[in-house]
Amino acid sequence: MLTRRSGMARSAAIAVLVVIVIAAVAGVVSYYYVSTAPATTSTATSTATSTATSTQTVTSTGISTLISTSVKTVTSTGVQPINIGILAPLTDVTGIDEKEGAQLAVTEINDHGGVLGRPLQIVSEDTQEADPTIPVSTGLAAMNRIVTVDHAQVIIGGERSDVVLAEEQQLPKYKIPFLDTGAADTSLGQQVIQNYSLYKYFFMVSPVNSTSLATGLISFYGYFHYVEPNYTKVYILAEDIAVWHALVPVLQYFLPQLGFTIVNPQSAGADYFPYGSTDFTTQMTNVRTSGAQIICLLAAGQDSVQLIQTWANLQVPAIPMGIDVAAESPSFWGQTNGAAKYETIEVGIGDTGTPINTIGANFYANYSKYYNTLPIYTADGAYESVYIIAHAMQAAGTTNGTALIPYIEKTNMTGPDGLIRFDKSHNVIYNEDYTKGGALSMVQWTAFNTYTPVWPPTVAKPISLPPWM
């Protein structure tokens, strides 16, 4: 017994040495001889004739300007397409709309000759991030695939803050632009300011960041107080996630100043429920017993489907007015069996159903025509992002990611959500006036597939209250 064991130990020790030596040698060799640069973006030479001026600066151009100055002819053979990567939860409404919005833009641009004489092409990977139990590594693996396997030259996407934050960390390695169209977390932009050379690739196109979302909501509440001064008791009900934790204190500070009272009994002054909850009896009962007249609802996931049904079933005498991503989807009425009626939510001004400019009108009409449904904010964002990239590539004369950054920064473009410009943190600039920035709106569900804008005053219809209030 003893000899067998010590013989084994000796063989084991030799094996250890052999393998470690080989591994160490290989490691050292690879370190010195393998290029440390990650997958570089390929720049195929275009064989098409180009009439675009290469020194065109991107001033306040509309999308139509791009189309008129782009190439007139594209040869159909031997032209390598430019890969636009869509990195999103592709089975969730946010991801689906993202891809469709991007596809619409790609089709339009290709119909007018593409960019730099090359057609655009969508490649997509599913991060599954809408599911709260999916870990961050799934999103990172998808990101890896989209760059190393699909050869995306730019990424449009993102939805969950922690996943997008992790994806942002990988940008210095991949060196391609990342246009976020789903996550609103302000830390994403702060990273750009703190470490510009590393994270300059990141841009937040939609929605406006969470601080701006709060600003919009507060402005609406101010307007609401003016039209319905008797409704002042607010109950804050939010998913227990980072973006709301950042937003709630802003509300808690400003709402009282506008004349509202926050009636939450919880010590935090707000009721946080676990993301992915399905049973809302406790919350609805708390709302009722607190005497609230308004529920300031903050939901980014699908929780509100069950929440709103419970609210309607129990006939809680408080009107939900807040941010609810699930409720932005046209199918929300069907999902809640009509309980969605009267819910009031914040959306991008491009998603109200009442477009504010020609581009928005065309986007809306074409989107409904192709996809038989109405878009939510990720669709607008993706649509605008494709055009932003197309503009930048056209102006820069290249598809190289790092070279594009200064051109993207100079974006000054009108889209369905208003005027798109970026600030120092690479967040789209918010302004109540859509001719001056990306704007927001509040809409109320009124009928099947229909919601009507109730704010800003320029487009507002009157707000209705549920019959039991």
Binding site: V19, A26, G27, A39, A141, D162, A242
Partner: protein
Amino acid sequence: MARLSRLLVIGVVIGLTLVLFPVVYSNDFALTIMTFANTLAIVAVSWDFFTGLTGRFNFGQALFFGVGSYAAGFMNLNLKYGPMLTIPLAGAVAIVIGVAFGYPTLRLKGPYFALATLIFPLIAGDLTFSLSSVFGGEHGLYGLATISDSYVVQYYGSLLLMLATVIVLLYLASSRLGLALESIRDDEKAASATGMNVTNYKLVAYIISAFFTGMAGAYQAQLFKFVGPDTFSSNISFEVIAMTIVGGIATIVGPVLGAYLLVIVLDGLGVSSDISVLTYGVLLMVIVLAFPGGLLGRLKTNLRGMRIRRLVGGKPAAT
């Protein structure tokens, strides 16, 4: 004896294949998949060392993975230690945590230790949220340093760590320590009747398991340059159990196979998550019903030539 050295030869050949893999197949995506697989393999192998040898089920291996990740992230951000230093240090921190959680619970009889392990990662995860100013809360810690941006270097790093783990644990499993642990698994009452402090031995195995898993967590922290609360996720705890069952429990090398299989099926093929988890679930079911020793169970007898089917059913151990 001949059987054992034949196994060693096979092991070295496989080791060489893994080492030369990037040279033959220099696909960036494949490299990242294998790197990730190696990291998880370390966790699975450590789990097998504890549960396979002592027979005590640990449902919370993610505790050490998360602890290692956060320790490395914390040290990197606040003490400015580089990954070469934080990886072993994170392992040490995991040992401390292992003692803290293991000491009061390993003495419990019946399934109660196993149930307790379910809760450990939840407690640790909750702490990162309560101390969110230190540990970043939901955002986690980001902007961490990395060993290298090169896919190849990361692959070799993870491979090195994984092979070292396997070899060390194989050695320990075949040593007197391993023998003692297996005697606890086979009959705890008899073992303690010989005067052995059973709880202490289990604790030693537990913290060894913690050490390597902690290092794996630290490795992932520098790989992603980011640490989040999902490092405590029960997904990880259950995945390593599944990997080990499929690969072969109490074999130490089986989990590596199980890990490669799982990662390739789940992340590498780009199939929808539902289908890949379903496939793995069915695989697990089939293994438990038909091949209780796992895929490598038939290949591997235990390291002293005894059959090790006692844990998972079948004929009793022959001496």
